[in-house]
């Protein structure tokens, strides 16, 4: 009985959470949802290699390689369709993309390419041990930071 109640409670709260997420996304253009999704895929996979590089998780060559390959694969997704006009932080509360993305599209695309280069380099060495992983992580972190420094609005 008690277990059933808990299960029901969990199911209800999950439904409520899902509804809340759906509501939050209801008016969000698909392109913004996709942008946030790409960043979430990146942070999930970074978590795997990052925890190993930081010594928070035991190094596992296979898992590191899978995550690094994912990071490199994400870089292959063209940004062309993801940045329609009217989706900057000036236009919408749910976007942290600064107008500079549109003002300096060439620089923005170059920053995404830099991420791709760093992610490919990480994938190259991911199976070579945690030290190699840590070095390549640092370069990847710089590419994230460089782009966010210029094109992303800080959190309120």
């Amino acid at each position: 009985m008690k277990l059933k109640t808990i299960a029901l409670g969990t199911a209800v709260s999950m439904t409520v959470a899902a509804a809340a997420i759906a509501a939050a996304h209801e008016n969000m253009p698909a392109q913004i949802v996709a942008r946030h999704g790409l960043m979430t895929v990146i942070s999930l996979n970074l978590g795997v290699v990052g925890d190993m590089a930081r010594g928070r998780a035991e190094y596992d060559a296979d898992a590191a390689k899978v995550a690094a390959d994912n990071l490199a694969a994400v870089a292959g997704i063209s940004q062309e369709l993801l940045w329609p006009e009217g989706t900057s932080s000036d236009d919408r509360e749910d976007s942290r993309a600064l107008p500079k993305v549109w003002e300096d599209r060439a620089g923005f695309d170059a920053a995404w390419d830099d991420y791709g280069t760093a992610a490919a380099a990480l994938a190259e060495v991911a199976a070579d041990g945690s030290d190699a992983l840590g070095g390549a992580m640092g370069a990847l972190g710089k590419s994230c930071g460089n782009c966010h420094d210029t094109y992303r609005k800080p959190k309120d």
Partner: protein, 298 residues
């Protein structure tokens, strides 16, 4: 009657002179300068001071990356409530930069905010923090500076609103806010003490993470407890233990690779700060984390 006017004029002139006197630009004491001159500079240690103090974050060209951040061309703009400050050229170029300065002039600038010609620098230059640096660190830094490249690019003027455009006013500001020592009491723990020195004297974390009062000085009662972003984009987060719930290890790792515990990346000006701190020994980043964890709750 004529006598009264004369007395009034005299009093007025005296008050003016007193005002000029108290707001004059005063460098280091002669004894301090003599002590500096007696020290030998070590350029390798000076490089660590250079990165810890974040010189390149303001004085490198805005788009510079990697070792180009040691070319101190200046030009980065800093919006504030008082107008826009523009970082000057402090490269080793003798005319466009500071290549012809003496050690004493360098120390006066860095630790007292006084130029070689005896003018005040605006406190966008964090000399109130650098005043806490050790004399040896200043001498080492200047030794390192000698090996930095020269860039022949003219400094751009600040763009400030009246009355902030009058440099003399900085003298009054200094009376209120300069020479106040450390913001937190000393610590017995060696790592916390080292972190305090790095954070308060060199890395000048408080310049962005501590809120300012109406006169533009740091509100030390809310030390590192977060502040509006001076650029008008969001907020600079508070770092007190109840505001930043990351572990000490997570803070130290963030200061090295730029990733938050959930693998978002740093943004804004912090990216540049991390580029500097990543060049320091690991023990220094651990020390800053220990210092933050020892702060009082916000």
């Amino acid at each position: 009657m004529r006598r009264a006017v004369l007395v009034l004029a005299l009093v007025g002139a005296l008050a003016g002179a007193a005002g000029l006197w108290v707001t004059r630009a005063e460098g280091l004491a002669a004894g301090d300068i003599a002590a500096l001159a007696a020290l030998d500079g070590d350029a390798a240690r000076g490089e660590e001071v250079f990165w810890a103090a974040g010189c390149a974050s303001c004085h490198a060209a805005p788009e510079a990356a990697g070792d180009d951040r040691m070319i101190l061309t200046g030009g980065r703009a800093f919006p504030s409530d008082f107008g826009t400050f523009v970082a000057p050229n402090v490269s080793m170029h003798p005319e466009s930069g500071i290549g012809d300065w003496t050690l004493a002039e360098f120390a006066d600038a860095v630790q007292r905010g006084v130029s070689p010609s005896g003018a005040h620098y605006y406190p966008a230059f964090p000399y109130t923090a650098y005043a806490l640096a050790a004399p040896q660190e200043v001498v080492d830094l200047w030794a390192f500076w000698q090996g930095l490249p020269a860039a022949d690019v003219a400094s751009r003027p600040h763009d400030l609103a009246f009355p902030f455009s009058i440099r003399r006013g900085v003298g009054a500001w200094k009376l209120l806010h300069a020479g106040r020592g450390h913001a937190t009491p000393g610590a017995d723990d060696a790592s916390v003490a080292r972190g305090r020195h790095l954070a308060e004297a060199l890395a000048h974390c408080g310049e962005c993470h501590t809120p300012r009062d109406a006169t533009g000085g740091l509100d030390r009662s809310r030390w590192l407890q977060g502040a509006p972003d001076p650029g008008g984009k969001g907020r600079v987060p508070g770092l007190a233990p109840d505001q930043l719930d990351w572990s000490a290890g997570e803070i130290a790792a963030y200061l090295n690779d730029g990733f938050t515990p959930d693998y978002d990346s740093a943004g804004g000006h912090m990216v540049s700060v991390i580029r500097n701190l990543a060049r320091l020994p690991e023990a220094d980043r651990v020390a800053i984390a220990a210092y933050l964890k020892a702060l009082p709750d916000g």
